[in-house]
């Protein structure tokens, strides 16, 4: 027995801190999390913290700034262009999201029916999502061009208008134009995701509802909508966040013009920080988006909490 026991004891001694760490559940778990934590800190937490800090300084490109506490925010509060961009952002987000949801839901319901050429239609619906944003933005830029706009051309040829529409020169025309471009781009995401949600609803539920005496509208109201609501919450959260922080479309089509009528908070922040060189002020504008985004996330967090019927039972 003594002969047997000795090597075992030696082994225990040799399995030092290192190998014991590998055997410990907690240590091993922590080690597996290190890469993820490193990535999160490096690419998320650090830039965010840096942004916070910059927003409290008067840093300019090429020079170190001083800590000026909330002075950037105080001056922004008196800045009418900033408030215009806040209004633009909210207008842009609300109108685009509502319309994207409506069209997306309609397309999803349509694609969920038996249709000829269904897979082809589905592929076409996805197209706007596949095209790189900047490319589609440039296409829209041409569509909205004051001299070469195809829309104006068609309407004139059809005899409906007499002069070219100034899509991007008039503030409200420009706002609606970029909203339309954003809708065109965002609908496929909403439609395809809602379609995936629709396809998880068992057809026998509709058959049961049918036998229970439900009309088409009642089936939509009592089966489709409640069953789809978790997916709707996810999709609309993503949609709102992506629209609120949109930059590429606006920057490519209007660069915030005319007279700041389409400046979103994101584009204004870029303009002040990079083009204008006032890093501190730009960061402050970015930081001002945070309360809105947090509100949207909180709203979805409570919306996303699984309803009672989705939670598992005792089993």
């Amino acid at each position: 027995m003594a002969v047997m026991a000795e090597p075992v004891a030696a082994q225990v001694r040799r399995s030092s801190l290192w190998s014991r760490a590998f055997e410990s559940r907690n240590c091993l778990g922590a080690m597996f999390m290190v890469p993820a934590i490193a990535i999160l800190i490096l690419f998320l937490a650090y830039p965010l913290a840096l942004g916070f800090w910059l927003g409290m300084t008067d840093t300019k490109i090429g020079g170190a700034g001083r800590f000026i506490a909330f002075q950037n925010f105080v001056s922004l509060a008196k800045d009418s262009v900033f408030w215009l961009s806040v209004f633009n952002t909210i207008f842009y987000t609300v109108t685009a999201s509502v319309v994207k949801f409506a069209i997306g839901l309609y397309l999803a319901l349509l694609l969920n029916e038996r249709l000829p050429f269904k897979s082809m239609i589905r592929a076409i619906v996805l197209l706007p999502f596949v095209v790189p944003t900047v490319l589609s933005a440039i296409a829209f830029w041409w569509i909205y061009d004051s001299q070469f706009s195809i829309i104006s051309w068609v309407l004139i040829k059809a005899g409906l208008i007499t002069r070219y529409i100034d899509f991007l020169g008039d503030p409200w025309n420009a706002r609606w134009s970029v909203v339309a471009a954003n809708i065109w781009r965002g609908v496929p995401f909403v439609a395809i995701t809602l379609l995936a949600g629709l396809q998880t609803i068992s057809p026998s539920l509709y058959e049961a509802a049918n036998l229970d005496g439900a009309t088409n509208m009642q089936r939509f109201r009592h089966i489709t909508l409640p069953m789809l609501s978790p997916i709707i919450a996810v999709v609309m959260t993503f949609s709102v966040l992506m629209t609120f922080t949109d930059f590429q479309l606006i920057y490519t089509i209007t660069r915030g013009g005319p007279i700041n009528a389409t400046h979103l908070m994101a584009t204004l922040s870029f303009q002040r920080a990079i083009t204008g060189g006032n890093l501190g002020e730009g960061a402050a504008i970015s930081n001002a988006m945070i309360p809105f985004l947090v509100a949207a996330i909180l709203l979805s967090f409570f919306g996303l909490q699984r309803s009672r019927w989705q939670q598992g039972g005792r089993d």
Binding site: E207, A208, G213
Partner: protein, 353 residues
């Protein structure tokens, strides 16, 4: 409650006909079981009765009304689905009251009827639960509750027990039968399980490849199967079939494979020398000195009875004994079918002779 008439009903999906002219009369209050192997068209027929599938030709009437072009919701029927199809976002009470709510019934009326159905099905303590919080058997009962709340003309059941474990299935079988005895609502029940059919039905309809093979009471089908398909489908373990010829040489006998001779009570007229299939149920074998020689292969005791697999004339047969014989695999015994309980089928057509 009302009667149901299915007359020469056909169903095609594209060019492919799955039901080839099915006629089934169902009396008021009857419990009819459609049984058959998968793909025989029984579920399609039930769905046509519910209005979930179109009728290609023929007529279906409920009561005095032809319902071919009547919307499902106007047919006054209730269906229990195989997967129950409970609305996951509604409580048990809401599930059961949904059809009444759609009919704009008052909330007092709804809760009264839901409560009554819940009492019948012992669901009263579960009314506020969601389907996910229920066990399989409870969900099954909610699905039935949803059907009985409406007090419909006809109940339709589409393989309702196939998602339950064996023990629960037996219990629910009894429960459904008892429910029918209490409510006396006309019921059409689809299953592939012949034991369910035998135990529950007033009338069994055996379907196969889109036609009705035979209909009748469970014991009629068991004792006098019209053809070899029904004979083999009804009964467990299944009936033994041996191919051979009838010999009328003073006494009628059956000459089976490898010269095995088995007794016949009488030979049907003109059957001498005809190729036939000799059918004998496992429980109709006895051990007798004048039986056919058999070599025992496997013995499966179930407690109440013993199933013995043996070779007779090179063909495998199964015999069931309630007595406890001391057999061992490899033993030679003599098996004798009861001639009065033997079935003869025409080998070419499979029809009973």
């Amino acid at each position: 409650m009302s009667s149901v008439q299915i007359r020469d009903v056909r169903k095609s999906f594209g060019n492919f006909e799955v039901l080839h002219g099915v006629s089934i009369p169902i009396e008021d209050g009857q419990f009819v079981v459609l049984v058959g192997p998968s793909g025989c068209g029984k579920s399609t027929l039930l769905r046509m009765l519910a209005g979930l599938e179109n009728i290609t030709s023929g007529t279906i009437s409920i009561g005095d009304r032809v319902v071919n072009n009547v919307q499902p919701k106007e047919r006054d029927i209730a269906m229990v689905f195989q997967n129950y199809a409970l609305y996951p976002h509604m409580t048990v009470a809401e599930n059961m009251g949904f059809s009444l709510k759609l009919r704009n019934a008052g909330s007092d009326e709804i809760s009264k009827r839901v409560k009554r159905a819940a009492e019948i099905l012992a669901l009263s303590p579960l009314l506020d639960r969601y389907p996910r919080q229920l066990s399989g058997g409870q969900r099954q009962r909610v699905a039935m509750g949803r059907a009985i709340v409406r007090d419909p003309q006809v109940f339709l059941f589409d393989e309702p027990l196939s998602n339950l474990d064996a023990k629960l299935r037996v219990a629910m079988r009894t429960e459904i039968k008892e429910l029918h005895q209490r409510l006396k609502t006309t019921t059409v029940y689809v299953t592939h399980d012949q034991i369910e059919a035998m135990t529950m039905a007033d009338k069994i309809v055996v379907m196969h490849d889109g036609i009705v093979e035979q209909m009748g009471t469970p014991l009629e089908l068991y004792d006098k199967p019209d053809n070899q398909f029904v004979a083999g489908f009804i009964g467990s373990p299944a009936m033994n079939f041996l191919k051979g010829h009838v010999r009328v040489n003073g006494v009628a006998t059956f000459e089976g494979p490898n010269g095995v001779k088995l007794p016949l009570k009488t030979a049907p007229a003109g059957s001498d020398g005809k190729p036939v299939v000799y059918g004998v149920r496992p429980e109709h074998f006895t051990i007798a000195d004048d039986g056919a020689e058999a070599e025992i292969l496997v013995i499966e005791p179930t407690g109440s009875e013993t199933q013995v697999f043996a070779k007779v004339g090179g063909e495998q047969v199964v015999a069931v004994f309630r007595e406890r014989h001391q057999f061992n695999p490899g033993d030679k015994v003599r098996l004798k079918p009861d001639p009065a309980l033997v079935h003869l089928f025409d080998e070419a057509t499979g029809k009973r002779m």
